[in-house]
C-alpha cells in the first residue's frame, strides 16, 4: 500500500530541512491552490512513515491497516538541520489535515513522550498553528515571528499538546482553544504565557519541553518545575535561550555543564532545588545555538577540544572562548587582538572559567578598558582584612564603571554633563556583563567581610545595601536588551541606576572601612586639600544614596587660611568617614519642609593645640540632655527614632571613636534657636604648621 516512499521522504525533507530550496518554495507559496496541489501529490492512503537512521523503516496507515515494511528502503534522508523528524503523517487530502496529521503522528509515535517536531524553527511551529486556523498560506506573513520574540516551547501532556509562544503575540487570543474543544483528543495547540504553565497539566511519564528567553528563564523554570514536581517520574527539559545564544538542557542524571552565566548559575541552583531535591536527578548539557546556521549542537568536551585545536590564537585564549556562537567567537578574537596589541590582555586571570563565550569576550573588552581591575580581583583573598579588600574593590569597581561609561562614550557624565545615549547592541551587552562583573566583586567583598567578626555586628546595616547594589546590577544586566531600553525605561535610566548602585557601593565601602579604625596610625594631613575639597562630592553622593531630590546646600571655608596653613593629626579616610557620618545624619534627620543646609567652619583654638571645625545643619537638632549620650554606641536620640527607625545608633559613636584615636574629640552643642539644627565641634590635634607661626600671625 505504501507505493511511493520516495515521495513521502521528499515531502518530509521539504518540511524539515531549512536549507532546502524546495522547502522555501513550500513556505513561500502564497496560493492555497498551490498548497492543495502539493498535498494532492501525496497519496491519500499514506498515513505515517517511520524513519530511522535516515531511512524509512516502517509505515502505518491511519486506519490501522498493515503497511509494508520499508526498513530496507534505499532512499536515505539527508537531514542537514540537525532536527531529524522521526515520523511523517501523510494521510491527508487537504493541507490542514496534513499539518494536523503531522502533530498527531508525532504524539502517537512517541506515545506519551516527546514530539520531535518541536525544533527551534519558528516556521514549523507556525505550521502547526496554521493547522488549527485553516492552514491559510495567504496569511503566512501574519505569523512571522523573529527569533528574538519567538519562544518555542511545548508541553506534551497525554493527548494534549501545548505550545508556548510569545505572550505578546496575537496568537494568544486562542489560548482557550483546548478548553473550548474537548474533542481535540490528539491535537491541541494552546499558547500559554510562559509563567503560567498550569500545574498538573502534565501527567506521569510525559515530557515537558520548554524554551525561554533570557530574563524570563528563571520564571519559566520555576513554573515548569512546579508542574513537574507533582510527578516523581517526570523528565524535565528546560531550554534557556540567553543573550549569549546558549541553550541549556537540564535533564536527569548528573550536572555536566551548567555554569555558563550567572543566569545559568541561578537557573541551575533553582532547578536543582526545585527538581533534584524532589526527584533526585538532574542533568545539564550545554547546547550551543549558532545563529548563522540556525543549528543547535551539543558542546561536549570533544567539540571544545576541537575548537581549541583549531582556534587561531588558542594558546592565549581562555578555555571557553573557543566555542559558542560565531559572533561571540569573532568578538572574542577581536578583543583578544585588541588586548594583545595594547599589551594588557588579562583575560585568563580575569574571566571566571565558567563564563560563557560572549561573556568572556565582554570581560576581555572591559579589561582592556580597566585592566588593573584584574590585579584588584587577584588581591582579594579570604584572609584579607575588610579595609584592604574594600579599597581593592572600590578601586576595581570605580575603574570598571569608568571603563563602561567610556565604552558608552558617557565619560562626560563624570563631569556632571548629561546627554542622551544611543548605545549600540554591543555596548549594551558590554555594559550588561560589566554589571555582572561588579556583582561578582560584591559577592567576594561580602564573603570576605563576613569572615571578620567585626562585620557581624553591622551585618544588618550592610545587608540592606549589598543586596540593593547587587540588585541594581542584576537589573541592569538582565534588562539591557534593545526592546526594553527602547520601550520602557530609556537608556539613561539604566545608566542612572548603575551609577546609583555605584554610589551605594562606595557608601557601603566607606561604612565597612570603619571596622578597622583601631588599627590606623595617625599621620599629618592637610584638611583643606585632603578632606574639605572632597566634601561637595561626598555631599552629593550622600544625597543620591538617600535619594533626596532637593540639593544639599553646603558652605565651607574652601580657601581658609587657617585650614591651609595647619596640618592636623589625622587619617584621610578616617576623617572623611567622620564627615560622611555627620552628613548622613544631617540628611536623615533633616526638616522636610526646607532645604538642607550644612555649614562647616574652622578656627584655631586659643591654646593652639587644636584646629576646631564646626559642622552645623538645619535639621531637627539634638536635645541638650542628649548631647553626650548620642556618642554612645547604639544610642538613638529620642526625637530621631520615628524619622529613621532602622538606624543603628552607631554613626556618631564611630565619629567619637575615630576622633579619639586621632588624638582629638567631637562634641555636640546647642543653639538657642531650636530651628538651627545640630552642631558638632570637631577638634583635630594640630600636627605642625605649613608656615612658621610668625608668618601666620603676621598675615592675620
Amino acid at each position: 500500500m505504501l507505493s511511493n516512499p520516495r515521495e513521502a521522504i521528499t515531502l518530509k525533507r521539504l518540511l524539515t530541512c531549512p536549507k532546502s530550496p524546495r522547502r522555501r518554495d513550500l513556505y513561500g507559496m502564497k496560493s492555497e491552490n498551490k498548497a492543495r496541489e502539493l498535498s494532492a501529490a501525496v497519496p491519500a492512503h499514506w498515513t505515517s512513515v517511520r524513519l530511522s537512521d535516515n531511512k524509512a523503516v516502517s509505515a502505518q496507515p491511519h486506519n490501522g491497516t498493515t503497511v509494508p515494511d520499508v526498513s530496507k528502503s534505499d532512499h536515505p534522508v539527508h537531514d542537514t538541520d540537525g532536527f531529524t523528524e522521526a515520523i511523517l503523517e501523510a494521510s491527508m487530502e487537504r493541507p490542514a489535515q496534513f499539518s494536523a496529521g503531522l502533530v498527531r503522528a508525532t504524539v502517537e509515535h512517541f506515545g506519551v513522550g516527546a514530539a520531535s517536531l518541536y525544533s527551534s524553527s519558528a516556521t514549523q511551529s507556525l505550521l502547526r498553528l496554521k493547522a488549527q486556523h485553516g492552514f491559510d498560506y495567504n496569511n503566512y506573513s501574519d505569523f512571522q515571528l523573529s527569533r528574538n520574540t519567538y519562544i518555542g516551547a511545548a508541553v506534551n501532556a497525554g493527548s494534549c499538546q501545548v505550545s508556548l509562544l510569545d505572550p505578546s503575540s496575537d496568537l494568544f487570543r486562542d489560548k482557550q482553544l483546548l478548553a473550548d474543544r474537548p474533542d481535540l483528543v490528539a491535537i491541541g495547540v494552546v499558547p500559554i504565557p510562559l509563567n503560567r504553565i498550569p500545574a498538573g497539566i502534565a501527567s506521569r511519564d510525559q515530557q515537558v519541553l520548554a524554551m525561554g528567553i533570557y530574563g524570563s528563564s528563571l520564571d519559566l523554570v520555576e513554573s515548569v518545575t512546579r508542574a513537574i514536581s507533582q510527578h516523581a517520574d517526570f523528565v524535565a527539559r528546560l531550554y534557556v535561550y540567553s543573550l549569549s545564544n546558549l541553550l541549556m538542557d537540564l535533564r536527569r542524571a548528573t550536572v555536566h555543564q551548567v555554569a555558563f552565566a550567572s543566569d545559568a548559575d541561578d537557573l541551575a541552583d533553582r532547578a536543582r532545588r526545585l527538581v533534584s531535591d524532589r526527584l533526585g536527578y538532574l542533568d545539564a548539557d550545554l547546547y550551543l545555538y549558532n545563529a548563522d546556521s540556525d543549528m543547535l549542537t551539543v558542546a561536549g568536551r570533544e567539540r571544545r577540544a576541537h575548537a581549541e585545536r583549531t582556534a587561531p590564537d588558542s594558546v592565549d585564549l581562555p578555555c571557553n572562548v573557543n566555542y559558542g556562537t560565531v559572533e561571540a567567537f569573532k568578538s572574542a578574537n577581536a578583543v583578544l587582538q585588541l588586548g594583545r596589541r595594547e599589551g594588557r590582555f588579562r583575560a585568563k586571570e580575569f574571566a571566571p572559567a565558567q563564563w560563557g563565550t560572549l561573556r568572556n569576550a565582554v570581560a576581555l573588552r572591559i579589561v582592556a578598558e580597566a585592566d588593573s581591575s584584574a590585579e584588584a580581583l587577584r588581591e582579594i583573598e579570604p584572609s584579607a582584612r575588610v579595609t584592604s579588600v574594600s579599597d581593592s574593590v572600590t578601586d576595581a569597581t570605580r575603574k570598571i564603571v569608568v571603563g563602561v561609561l567610556r565604552v558608552l562614550n558617557l565619560e562626560s557624565r563624570l563631569d556632571g554633563v548629561v546627554r542622551d545615549v544611543d548605545p549600540s547592541w554591543e555596548d549594551i551587552v558590554l555594559l550588561s556583563f560589566a554589571a555582572e562583573m561588579l556583582a561578582v566583586l560584591l559577592g567576594q567583598l561580602l564573603r570576605v567581610s563576613a569572615a571578620e567578626r567585626q562585620f557581624e555586628r553591622r551585618l544588618h546595616g550592610a545587608s540592606s545595601v549589598l543586596p540593593s547594589v547587587a540588585a541594581s546590577l542584576q537589573i541592569l544586566a538582565r534588562n539591557l536588551d534593545v526592546y526594553r531600553i527602547g520601550e520602557r525605561m530609556g537608556g539613561m535610566k539604566i545608566v542612572h541606576d548603575v551609577e546609583d548602585a555605584h554610589v551605594l557601593l562606595e557608601d557601603l565601602i566607606l561604612q565597612l572601612g570603619t571596622f578597622d579604625w583601631e588599627d590606623i596610625e595617625p599621620e599629618p594631613i592637610d584638611l583643606r586639600t585632603e578632606v574639605m575639597a572632597a566634601l561637595p562630592q561626598l555631599a552629593e553622593r550622600m544625597r543620591r544614596a538617600r535619594v533626596i531630590e532637593d540639593p544639599v546646600r553646603l558652605s565651607y571655608l574652601r580657601d581658609s587660611d587657617v585650614l591651609g596653613e595647619l596640618l592636623v593629626k589625622g587619617h584621610r579616610a578616617a576623617v572623611v568617614t567622620v564627615f560622611r557620618n555627620l552628613m548622613d545624619n544631617a540628611i536623615k534627620y533633616r526638616q522636610r519642609e526646607r532645604e538642607l543646609e550644612i555649614k562647616i567652619e574652622a578656627r584655631e583654638d586659643i591654646g593652639r593645640e587644636f584646629l576646631l571645625v564646626t559642622f552645623a545643619d538645619n535639621g531637627i537638632g539634638i536635645p541638650p540632655d542628649e548631647h553626650q549620650l548620642v556618642f554612645l554606641d547604639a544610642y538613638r536620640g529620642r526625637n530621631a527614632r520615628h524619622l529613621w527607625p532602622g538606624g543603628l545608633g552607631r554613626g556618631l559613636a564611630d565619629c567619637d571613636r575615630i576622633m579619639n584615636r586621632l588624638g582629638g574629640r567631637i562634641s555636640a552643642t546647642s543653639s538657642a534657636d531650636k530651628s538651627a539644627g545640630a552642631t558638632f565641634e570637631l577638634a583635630f590635634r594640630l600636627e605642625r604648621r605649613n608656615r612658621v607661626p610668625g608668618d601666620y600671625l603676621l598675615r592675620r
Binding site: P467, A471, M489, D500, P645, G646
Partner: protein, 154 residues
Amino acid sequence: MTIYFVDEDKGPLVPYRSALELLGFEVEPIEFADDAYSLLSSCDPASITLVILDLMLAVRQPDDRFNERTTVNWDETGFCLFDELVASRPELFPRRIFLFSAIYKEGALIKAQRINQQYRVPFLRKRTYSNAADFGLAVKRRLEDIDDKQLDDK
C-alpha cells in the same frame, strides 16, 4: 493602577522599583507611615494595585495613631500601619498588601510570619531578595493570585 512602595530608605529601593517598572507597573514611593495611611485609606480603591510595605517605617509627625506606644518604640510602625489599613479598608487590605522588610528581631519576625500565615500576605525579607528581577516576578505573581482570587469570588 499604582504600586505603592512604603519605605523610608529610598536609596536601596531603586533597583526594586526598576524591576517593577520593567514589568510595566507604575511605582509610587511613600516615605512615612502617616502619609501612607492618609493616602491609602482615602484614595480611589481602583488606583491601588498593590502596597509593598516595609515593617520598620518612619513617621513624619507622631500622633494618636502612630506614636511610641502604638508602634512599640517605633520598631513596629509597619505592623501598626498594616492593622490600620486592614481596619479602614477590609475590602482592599490585607489582600493588596505585600510585606517586604529587612527586619531581623525575633519578635518582629514571628509577628510577620503570623501575618503571612493568617492572612496569606506574602512576606519577603530584603536580604533574601538580592535578585531584584525575582522580586519583581514575586510581586507579579502576587497580583496574579489576587486577580485569580477575584475571579473566583465572582
